[in-house]
Assembly symmetry: C2
Homo-oligomer: 238 residues x 2
DNA sequence: CCATTCATGGTCAATCTGACCATAATTATC
DNA sequence: GATAATTATGGTCAGATTGACCATGAATGG
C-alpha cells in the first residue's frame, strides 16, 4: 500500500519495541521484512500513522491487528527523523516502548507467527541480539535505523526501572506475584544479579510503607523451596 | 506559506520550549501569534520541518533564524500527535527542550523582539505563566496544545536536574561559575529553596571526586560578601 | 569599626546501601 | 523417613548519603 511513497511529502510511522522476559532474560520481538527495502532483514514491527489517529492510537491498532494483543503497557520512546533513514522517501518514526508479559505474548503469537523473539544484550561491547543458537545480530543488521531505536529503548528501560514502576508491567499476574519474580525482571533488564535480601528491602520500603503494595496472603505452592508470599500493587490514588 | 495545509497529508513541525533563568526564576520564551489560528494568543516558537532536514536540524535552524542564537542546548522532549491538535489540518509536533543562559538570550532578542519571557510556575495548582504585572496565563491560554507541552517540559526538566548535568546549561559561563550560581539554577527549576551547605556537598561529591569539576582558582571579586571559588565542568572523556 | 552579606566548612543523627549470615519452609533424593 | 538441596525471608553491621543546623572566613556598606 505504501510501496510508492510520494517524494514531495513527509510520512509518519510508529515502530514498536515490544519487550518481554522469557527464561529470565530480556527479549525483543522482531519481524522479518518480506518486501524491499531491507527485504529479508529483521525489523521492528511498524505501521504508517493514519490521517485520523494519534501515534499512540496507531501503535495500539498495530498491537491489536498484528499479534493480536490488547491492553499492553505503552510509552512513547523517541522520534527518529534523520532525512535519509528510509530509502523509500521521507519517513519519520515515532518509537514506542511496549511491555507484554511473556505468556500473554506467546499466546497471542501462536505457532506459525511471522514474529520472532530475540534475547537482547546491551553492554560495553554494544548491542547484541541472539536467538538460541542460529542467529546473532548486531545493531547494523536490523533494517532502517532500528538498531539505534533498540539501543535507545534498552537504555531508557534501564534508566527508568529503579525509580518508576515500569518493571511491574513485565509481571504475568500483577495481582499476585512473588518478590522473586520481580527480582528476576530487574535482573533481566539491568543485566546483572542483585542481592535478594537487599532487593526485598528496597522494594518493600519503597512500596509497602506507602501502602501501594499489599499481600494477597496466599502462598505460592508450586515449585521447589519455601512458598513465597504473593503481593499485589495497588494503583495509585493521587 | 503554510496557511493552507493539504487535508490529505500529514505535516510535521518542531516546537521549542526555550528556557532560561532570569532574576533567579525560571522563564520561558513565547511568541504572540500574528495570524489565525489562535491569532493574538501566546505560543511556543515553531516551524515546519523541511523535506531534507531532521527535526533537530529544523529546531537549530529556527534558533538561528528567529532569535538568533547558535550553540544552544537542545534535547528532544516528546512528540505530540493528537489528530485534532491543529485546526488547520493534520499536524504532528516534535517538541524540543532548549536551554539558553539569560544574557546570551537577552542579547539575541534585543529591544524590539516579537518574543516575550514569562516566569513559569508549576505546582499542585497547575501551570502558571506570569509576566511581571500585566499578564497571567494558564495552560489553556496558550495556542494549540502548547499548555500540555510546557507542562511536560517542566516536569522533564525537574526530573532530570538532579541526576544529569542538564542544570549546567543554564550557566552564563560554564568555564567559570560559583556553586551559588548553580544552586540558584537548581532552586529556580525545582521551585524550592535548598540548603547551601548540603547542596555544595552533593555537587562536589558527585563531580569533583570523579575529576569532572575543577577549580579555575580565580575568586570572584564583584558583589558583596566573601568571593566565591569558581569552577569549571570538564567534558566527559568516555 | 561594626553590621551585613555571602562562601565555606563541620557536626550529628537518621536513613539508606551493599555485603554478608541465619533461619524457615518446602521439594528432591537416597 | 532422614537428609540434602532449594527457595523465601529476616537480621546484622559497617560505610555512605542526607537533612537540619551551627560556626567561621572574607568581602562590602555604612
Amino acid at each position: 500500500m505504501h510501496s510508492d511513497l510520494r517524494s514531495d511529502q513527509l510520512h509518519v510511522t510508529v515502530d514498536l519495541l515490544i519487550m518481554t522476559i522469557r527464561d529470565d532474560r530480556l527479549h525483543l520481538l522482531l519481524s522479518r521484512r518480506v518486501s524491499p527495502p531491507y527485504e529479508g532483514q529483521w525489523a521492528l514491527p511498524g505501521s504508517f500513522v493514519g490521517m485520523n489517529e494519534a501515534a499512540e492510537e496507531a501503535a495500539e491498532r498495530l498491537l491489536k491487528e498484528m499479534l493480536p494483543v490488547s491492553e499492553a503497557f505503552l510509552e512513547q520512546l523517541y522520534t527518529f527523523t534523520r532525512a535519509d533513514r528510509d530509502p523509500r522517501g521521507r519517513v519519520i518514526s515515532v518509537a514506542y516502548l511496549v511491555i507484554i508479559p511473556f505468556r500473554r505474548l506467546a499466546a497471542a503469537l501462536g505457532e506459525h507467527s511471522p514474529f520472532h523473539l530475540f534475547e537482547v544484550q546491551l553492554d560495553a561491547c554494544g548491542l547484541n541480539l541472539s536467538d538460541g543458537a542460529e542467529q546473532r545480530l548486531g545493531p547494523a543488521d536490523l533494517a532502517f535505523d532500528h538498531g539505534s531505536i533498540v539501543e535507545t529503548g534498552i537504555r531508557r528501560l534501564r534508566g527508568k526501572i529503579d525509580y518508576t514502576e515500569i518493571g511491574f508491567h513485565f509481571l504475568e499476574d500483577p495481582d499476585a506475584f512473588a518478590l522473586s519474580e520481580l527480582q528476576t525482571i530487574y535482573e533481566a533488564v539491568l543485566g546483572n544479579a542483585l542481592d535478594t535480601s537487599n532487593f526485598r528491602r528496597s522494594i518493600l520500603n519503597r512500596y509497602e510503607k506507602t501502602g501501594r503494595l499489599e499481600q494477597t496472603s496466599q502462598a505460592e505452592k508450586h515449585g521447589r523451596g519455601r512458598p513465597a508470599v504473593l503481593y499485589r500493587l495497588k494503583s495509585r490514588s493521587c
